[in-house]
Structure formats: structure tokens, C-alpha cells
């Protein structure tokens, strides 16, 4: 419970319609895309301006109450998981595109603007916003900044950090700073670069200047079917070794294809692995690259290659790919997704090890991932009604991360560490490295109130074995709600 004075001050800051305190209503904010973890906040505030955000932060600081910023809540690592009895600062009402400056190839937006709306606003003018996480229809720019989001096309175009030029930033003590800006090369340390990807632990961005990119003249998309993921992985390595940089290279295995076909009906071939390769640029060049890619796929054992002949066909291929996580419900009651990264050259052996682990644990693993940059998304499928299955799934997923680390990779490529993987950080970084990161965090938030317990491991957090949220029998029966 928050004390009355703080509640009154928050209400003053954001108004009645920007304040949610009813125990039932705050449940909407109890988790993000990692639905297995839920914590009820004491209050949710929905500010409309930078000043309101700053006032909320100052109020929390003075009352020593932790606060967590939240966009659309699509994050998959529990980065927007509330702190018990803390405040959630929802930025979804700050959703204006403030400026479109074509001459300088930049737009200024509020953090609640969705990723896709940025591209929609500038596409008629011949531009787009390049980072495209699969959740782009709903995820917000503020969340993208917090997580340094990627997406399928970051293979060629880079991540959020490469496309953010400036931000208005509310510091963890409620002051307002300009980081970076519309003009490049601001003096001093690259605080903006530090903030992008810091998972909301250093402060809150309330306005963002984004770089937009000219739409390429042509785009070619090919879907190639292989009997095994190993063959498909081989094709990926060979494509890269020719010196071509495709806009995207995505892979789905048989299980993932089956799940997607259930809901999207995109007509993917029934095969062991499908590759989606997209090439863009001047039309003569992308069609030349396209034939090269098709030849490489065929030489690597592709049983079929299908080129999207129309924009609608391309959209359908992508619709299936981007629906992959959502469609898992068709083939499994529960799933747990990992986000490990491996060097591209290790694709074949790591995928084989995942298959072996899947057999050992008796749990199916669907693979759908950004093959071009070695960013795996193994979906560990399980049935939570089966005793011990959830725990086995977590254990298997943990072993997959260890495979990634052993291969010289990372525990997360784009979903973030959040609350989910904080305890894996010591497997990837030395105590000294984590201590330095902690010192940077202290430099921004000495009170440890700004999204505490995320991104970096804490003894309290990592001493306990994290468990998945499981509804109590009386919740399942609809007799009670968890508040």
C-alpha cells in the first residue's frame, strides 16, 4: 500500500483519469509478455507529458517507493514486471508523433507511439523506421529504446541504438535532461548510448528523435525449404560468405511451421526447415542477388524455393513468421521462449545439441529465429498441468543458454535480461564486469528505485530459485482473483 500523501501527490500529477489504484484494475499491469511472472503494483499512473513523468518520479523518490516504466508490455524478459507495492508509470497515453523532418531524415515521437506507426507515418513519403521487432504493431518506441530492440531486418539495418539520435530523459531523481539531439555529436559521454538498452533502469525517456531511412527501390523475398536445419544453416553461412548482406535471413523448423500454418495459412511447405531470405536495394542488384541466393540454397540441399511474386505474397510470408510465438498456443498449452545468440558459424552444432536436449528432456522445442545474426528463439513447449513439466522446461531452457555461452554467444539478443535472465548474467560476465555495470547504474540511480532488480543480478534475486506463476485452483475455477 502506498501512503496517502504519495497517492494524493500522484493524483495531482496525472489527474484522476491517469491514475489506477483499484486492486482489480492494476492486474492488467501485473506482467509483461513474460506472463509466467506476476507482481501487483500498488498504483499505475498514466502521465501525459514529460513534466508529469518527472513529477511522478520525484514523488516516488521522496517517498522512497520504486517505480517501473512500461510501454505496451510486450517485452519477453519481465523487464516491465512491477515491483510489489511500487508504482508503474505507463507511457501508453504519450503517443503523439511530434515532428517529421524529412530534410534531415528524422522524426520526433513520444515514447508511447507504436513502432509500426512510425513507419506508417513516413512510408507514404518514401521512408521507414528500420528496427522491426515482431511485436511492432503494438510495441512502443519507449519500450524499444529500453530494450534496444532488434527485429528481422536488423541484420542489415542495425538495432534501435543505431536509429536513436536523441531523447528527452527523466532521470531517476526526476530531473529532465536532453541526451543526444537532432544535431549529431553532442559533447561528452554518450549517455544516450548507455540509456538505450538499459532496460528502464537508468531513467525514463519521454521524447525520442529517430533516424528514418529511405525505402529501398526494390525488395525480393524468397522462401526456401530444406529437409534439415543443418542444411538450412549451411545455406546461411554460404550466403554471408559471398559478401551479400541480405535485409533479413530467418529460419523456422518443422514444428514452428506447423504452428504458424494452423493460424496464418501462409502455405509454407511441409519441411524440416524453412529459410526466409530478403534482399533489398536497386532492383537490378536485388534480382541478381536473388538468383545467387536461390542457387546457394539449391546447392545446399533446398527441396523447393518460392519467390514472393507480389507484395501480398511477401506480406503473407512475413505474417506467418511474425505470428510464430502467438501461434504456439495451437500446438502446446504452454511455452517458454529463449533468446540466446551464437556465432553464425556455430548454427549447425548448437541446433543439433538443442535437438538432443529436447529428446533427453522429453519436451518438444520449436525453433524460429533470426538465422542471419545467430539469434535463436527456441520455444520450449510444455503442459503445465503435467507435474514438474514447467520446472523441466525452465531447466532445459537454461541449458540452451549455457550452450549459447559456451559457443561464444550471448544469453539475450533482443529480448533483454529483465527479471528473467538476471541470474544468468554471472555465467556470461565476470564479477568485475558486473560490478562495473552496477557502478554505472549507481551513477544514474543511486537510490535504486528505477526498475530495481532488472538487467543486473542481485543476491536477493539470484539466491532464490525463480518459479513460474501458477494460478491457484480457486483462481482456475473462477472463484477468486489474485490481487
Amino acid at each position: 500500500m502506498l501512503d496517502r500523501a504519495l497517492l494524493a501527490r500522484l493524483r495531482d500529477a496525472v489527474g484522476d483519469d491517469g491514475m489506477i489504484t483499484s486492486p482489480a484494475a492494476v492486474q492488467t499491469y501485473a506482467c509483461d509478455g513474460l506472463t509466467g511472472r506476476r507482481v501487483s503494483p500498488a498504483a499505475v499512473v498514466l502521465p501525459l507529458s514529460t513534466d508529469e513523468v518527472a513529477e511522478v518520479v520525484r514523488a516516488c523518490l521522496e517517498a522512497h517507493v520504486p517505480f517501473v516504466a512500461r510501454g505496451a508490455g510486450t517485452g519477453l524478459s519481465g523487464g516491465a514486471l512491477p515491483v510489489a507495492d511500487g508504482v508503474v508509470i505507463g507511457l501508453s497515453r504519450m503517443r503523439s508523433i511530434l515532428d517529421i523532418d524529412l530534410e534531415n531524415h528524422q522524426v520526433t515521437v513520444q515514447p508511447g507511439v507504436t513502432n509500426l506507426d512510425v513507419s506508417k507515418a513516413v512510408r507514404p513519403l518514401g521512408y521507414f523506421y528500420a528496427p522491426d521487432p515482431s511485436s511492432q504493431q503494438v510495441c512502443t518506441i519507449g519500450g524499444n529504446v529500453a530494450e534496444n530492440s532488434g527485429g528481422a531486418h536488423c541484420l542489415k539495418y542495425g538495432f534501435t541504438t543505431h536509429h536513436v539520435l536523441g531523447a528527452t530523459f527523466v532521470s531517476a531523481d526526476g530531473r529532465i535532461a536532453r541526451l543526444g539531439g537532432r544535431v549529431r555529436d553532442s559533447a561528452g559521454y554518450d549517455l544516450l548510448g548507455m540509456v538505450v538498452g538499459s532496460e528502464g533502469t537508468l531513467g525514463i525517456v519521454t521524447e525520442v528523435v529517430l533516424r528514418i531511412v529511405r525505402v529501398p527501390e526494390s525488395t525480393e523475398t524468397v522462401l526456401a525449404a530444406f529437409s534439415t536445419m543443418g542444411d538450412a544453416g549451411e545455406a546461411v553461412s554460404r550466403i554471408i560468405a559471398t559478401g551479400i548482406t541480405p535485409a533479413a535471413i530467418e529460419m523456422m523448423d518443422r514444428l514452428a511451421i506447423q504452428a504458424c500454418e494452423e493460424i496464418v495459412h501462409a502455405g509454407y511447405p511441409d519441411c524440416g526447415a524453412a529459410l526466409i531470405v530478403e534482399l533489398d536495394g536497386p532492383s537490378v542488384e536485388s534480382s541478381a542477388f536473388l538468383s545467387q541466393v536461390i542457387d546457394i540454397c539449391t546447392a545446399s540441399g533446398a527441396t523447393e524455393t518460392r519467390v514472393a511474386a507480389t507484395e501480398a505474397e511477401r506480406a503473407l510470408i512475413w505474417k506467418a513468421r511474425k505470428a510464430a510465438f502467438a501461434s504456439m498456443g495451437r500446438i502446446s498449452p504452454n511455452y517458454y521462449v529463449q533468446d540466446g545468440v551464437i556465432p553464425r558459424t556455430r548454427l549447425r552444432d548448437v541446433l543439433e545439441s538443442i535437438t538432443a536436449l529436447s529428446a533427453t528432456y522429453g519436451l518438444r522445442v520449436a525453433n524460429v529465429f533470426h538465422a542471419g545474426d545467430g539469434n535463436l528463439h527456441p520455444l520450449v513447449l510444455y503442459d503445465d498441468t503435467e507435474p514438474g513439466a514447467g520446472a523441466r522446461a525452465l531447466e532445459l531452457a537454461g541449458l540452451i543458454l549455457e550452450l549459447c555461452i559456451a559457443a561464444g554467444g550471448s544469453i539475450t539478443g533482443e529480448h533483454g535480461v529483465g527479471s528473467d535472465k538476471a541470474c544468468y548474467m554471472p555465467k556470461m560476465f565476470s564479477p568485475g564486469s558486473i560490478a562495473v555495470m552496477g557502478r554505472v547504474r549507481d551513477a544514474f540511480d543511486p537510490s535504486d528505485l528505477c526498475n530495481p532488480g532488472k538487467a543486473l543480478p542481485t543476491p536477493r534475486l539470484c539466491g532464490e530459485v525463480p518459479g513460474m506463476y501458477r494460478p491457484h485452483a480457486i483462481e482456475v475455477a473462477g472463484l477468486a482473483e489474485r490481487l
Binding site: S186, A187, M194, A455
Partner: protein, 405 residues
């Protein structure tokens, strides 16, 4: 402060007599002459040198090739120059992954040579800062230096995927890794890029690499009107083409646009530019002749050199007022960044012209060098806070960063 003899003894114990020497005037940093030059051989020795210096209140300035040692404000103190010359070599390079890990004292040119000769898959680190031949990886990263390739590939900030470093208290840390896509942990390397050596000594850097392009085509557009040059460059930004380089050179009066791609891709893009906007595609001989006329500009020649940044849309306004005042300008018009050379007495005029175009000027050479001005008090306070956390004793290059950090 201890006497030089005591310091000499101290550091000799740590790294060996051959790796410590008395400094001379040529070792001066921004005019401040240090006592000693110490050359540790690895991360562990860097840590012991830094801990020992911190414990005695000695100020340390890290130095690579020394090509940009004057960047930043004059240090408040400089007792020890820590040379990274022995911390050199490529640690890891898997060509098929387009990634390399390299020690900080390696020269950029030797790295590029190795990468260009990767069997079967020639590649490159897409950084081409001025004085690149002797510049080291650590120095390029600490100064965030870039060159013409910035238009397409960005600065070190965009290509560094991991870094190992040592804080002044001897703590060794690493951030990032050796995969391009990675969001695990704080990206501390972002703070080190452009830190001017004030936060940590960088010992190793992991980079994203790019394939060596199969072909290049350059289009030159010449004019004696800076507005025509800027107009041409801005229209390039509106075409559906992807140039690696778009550089405006004055007084040469030329915009050079280079396409690095497949033979076909480079050719069609160059043709599109000449067809739609004018200019002419250069053949190989013309290209090398043209490259020679702008090589090293604006650094060659005497005078002050400053880095400028402004909105691309206001570059024309700045250049119109400056073309007579500056001796040389090399501008990336699509980014609004570049460098200008001018006589010392023109400093105020150049500064006010940049400001009136909404931009900023940071002097890089010729006295009055600085790290620029912080434009936001809260941001500056956060920077000070970062410095206090990572280098509380102010051992590393004190006073070189903005606001006297």
C-alpha cells in the same frame, strides 16, 4: 607527489625496466609534460600500473599511436603516459562470422591488412579516420574518430560490439561480446567510445566487420557554389541509393559520392545519380586523381582544425558564410558533420557562424583544443556522476572531458 626516481622504481617493479622510461617534451599531452612513459604488456599489468598510480595520486593518460593525443581539453595533470603499444595483435577473427577481437594497441592499418587478406572472404572494419595509418584501435575508439565511411557505416559507436577495459582502481571489466546481436548487460563500451580516456583504459575491442565490396564507383559533382554543392548532396539523400561516402570538399569545390557494392549495384547507383542529379562518374584514373586532391583534407596544411556538427539542412547556410573564412572544409552533408581548417585568428568567426547555423564547433588541433561544451546541465551532472563512479580518484586524463571532467 613521489619523486620521479621513486615512481621509476615503482613502475619498473610492475612491468620491468625496459618498459618504463623518463618522458621528454615529445610525450607532452596538450602541453603538459609527464614524468614517465610506462608500457604494460597485458591487461593484468595495466591493472597494476593503474592501481599503483591511483594509490599515489598520479594522473595517467593512455596513449596509442598519439595521432589524436591533443583531442580534448588540456589535462589538469599528467604524470604517467600509459602506452598501449605492447598490447597489440588480433585475438580472434572468424571470417565467416564477420567479427574480430583485437587488442587496443593494434594499429588500424595493420588490422585492415589482416582482414583484407582473410582467405576466401576479404573483409574490412568500416572505419577510416584521419591519420589512420598510425592510429590504434584503442585511440580510435576513445576519440570516436571516423572518416568518410561514416555516412553509411557510422562511427566506432556503431561498430564496436564489445570491449575489455581496466578502471583506475584496477578492476578489469568487459561488456558486450563477440556476437553482433547482443543486449546482455549494460553496454559500457558506449561510454568508452569518445570518453577521451577519462573513464577506463581500453585493452581489447570486438568489432562488427563488413565484406570487402566487390566494386566501387565514384561520382563527382563540381561547382564553385557551396549552395549548389549542398543542394546536390541533399538530393542524394532523397534518392533510393545507398552511398558509402558523400563528402563535400571546399575549396576543391566538389562533392564525391562513392558506391561500394557489387559491380552491377555500384554501376547502376552511380548512373542513377548522374542521370537524375548530374555530376559525372569517374573512371579509375580520374578517381585516384580526385582522391589525391582531397586526401587528408582538411588536416593537411597549417592552422586550427575543428570538428563541426549541425543539422544537414543548415549546412548550406554555414558554408555560405564560411567558404571565404575557412582554408579547407570536409563535410559529410547528409549527417551535418565534418571538419574545417582555419587560421587561429578566425576562431571566433567560425565559432559564431557554426552557432548561428544551430551547430557546434570543437577545436581538435592548434591550441584551444577542447572536448566541447555540454549543452544540458542535468546531462553534465550525470556525466560527472559516471566519472565519480568509475574513476573516483580522477586518475585517468583529469580535465580532458567536458566540464573539466
Amino acid at each position: 607527489m613521489a619523486s620521479t626516481a621513486q615512481e621509476l622504481h615503482l613502475f619498473t617493479e610492475l612491468v620491468g625496466a625496459a618498459q618504463v622510461r623518463q618522458a621528454d617534451a615529445a610525450d607532452a599531452v596538450g602541453g603538459v609534460v609527464p614524468s614517465l612513459v610506462v608500457s604494460p604488456g597485458d591487461e593484468e599489468e595495466v591493472a597494476s600500473v593503474l592501481s599503483a598510480a591511483s594509490a599515489r595520486g598520479l594522473a595517467v593518460v593512455a596513449r596509442g599511436g598519439g595521432t589524436k593525443i591533443d583531442w580534448g581539453s588540456r589535462p589538469e595533470r599528467c604524470d604517467v603516459v600509459l602506452s598501449t603499444s605492447r598490447i597489440a595483435g588480433i585475438v580472434d577473427h572468424e571470417p565467416a562470422d564477420l567479427v574480430c577481437v583485437v587488442r587496443a594497441g593494434t594499429t588500424l592499418s595493420s588490422l585492415q591488412e589482416t582482414l583484407a587478406s582473410a582467405a576466401g572472404f576479404r573483409q574490412r572494419l568500416m572505419l577510416d579516420p584521419a591519420q589512420g595509418a598510425h592510429a590504434t584501435i584503442g585511440g580510435v575508439v576513445a576519440t570516436a574518430a571516423s572518416g568518410p565511411l561514416r555516412t553509411r557505416f557510422g562511427t566506432p559507436r556503431d561498430l564496436v560490439i564489445g570491449a575489455s577495459f581496466v578502471l583506475s582502481d584496477g578492476t578489469a571489466g568487459r561488456s558486450g561480446g563477440k556476437v553482433v546481436k547482443n543486449v546482455a548487460g549494460f553496454d559500457v563500451a558506449k561510454l568508452l567510445v569518445g570518453s577521451l580516456g577519462t573513464l577506463a583504459v581500453i585493452t581489447e575491442v570486438a568489432f562488427r566487420l563488413h565484406p570487402m565490396p566487390a566494386a566501387s564507383r565514384t561520382v563527382a559533382f563540381e561547382s564553385r557554389s557551396v549552395l549548389d554543392l549542398c543542394g546536390f548532396a541533399n538530393r542524394i539523400g532523397q534518392l533510393q541509393v545507398t552511398p558509402s561516402v558523400v563528402d563535400l570538399h571546399w575549396p576543391q569545390g566538389v562533392v564525391l559520392v562513392r558506391f561500394d557494392s557489387s559491380e552491377l549495384g555500384a554501376t547502376v547507383q552511380a548512373e542513377r545519380v548522374t542521370h537524375e542529379l548530374g555530376g559525372r562518374a569517374l573512371d579509375a584514373d580520374e578517381e585516384s586523381a580526385m582522391t589525391a586532391t582531397v586526401a587528408g583534407s582538411p588536416w593537411t596544411g597549417s592552422g586550427m582544425v575543428g570538428a563541426v556538427a549541425m543539422l544537414p539542412s543548415r549546412a548550406g547556410e554555414f558554408l555560405s558564410s564560411m567558404s571565404a573564412t575557412c582554408d579547407a572544409v570536409a563535410l559529410r552533408p547528409l549527417l551535418g558533420t565534418g571538419e574545417v581548417r582555419f587560421a587561429p585568428e578566425a576562431l571566433d568567426m567560425v565559432g559564431s557562424a557554426v552557432r548561428s547555423a544551430g551547430g557546434r564547433l570543437v577545436v581538435r588541433r592548434g591550441g584551444a583544443t577542447s572536448a566541447g561544451e555540454a549543452e544540458d546541465d542535468v546531462a553534465l551532472e550525470l556525466m560527472r556522476s559516471v566519472k565519480r563512479q568509475l574513476d573516483p580518484a580522477r586518475t585517468l586524463s583529469p580535465g580532458r572531458q567536458v566540464g573539466g571532467i
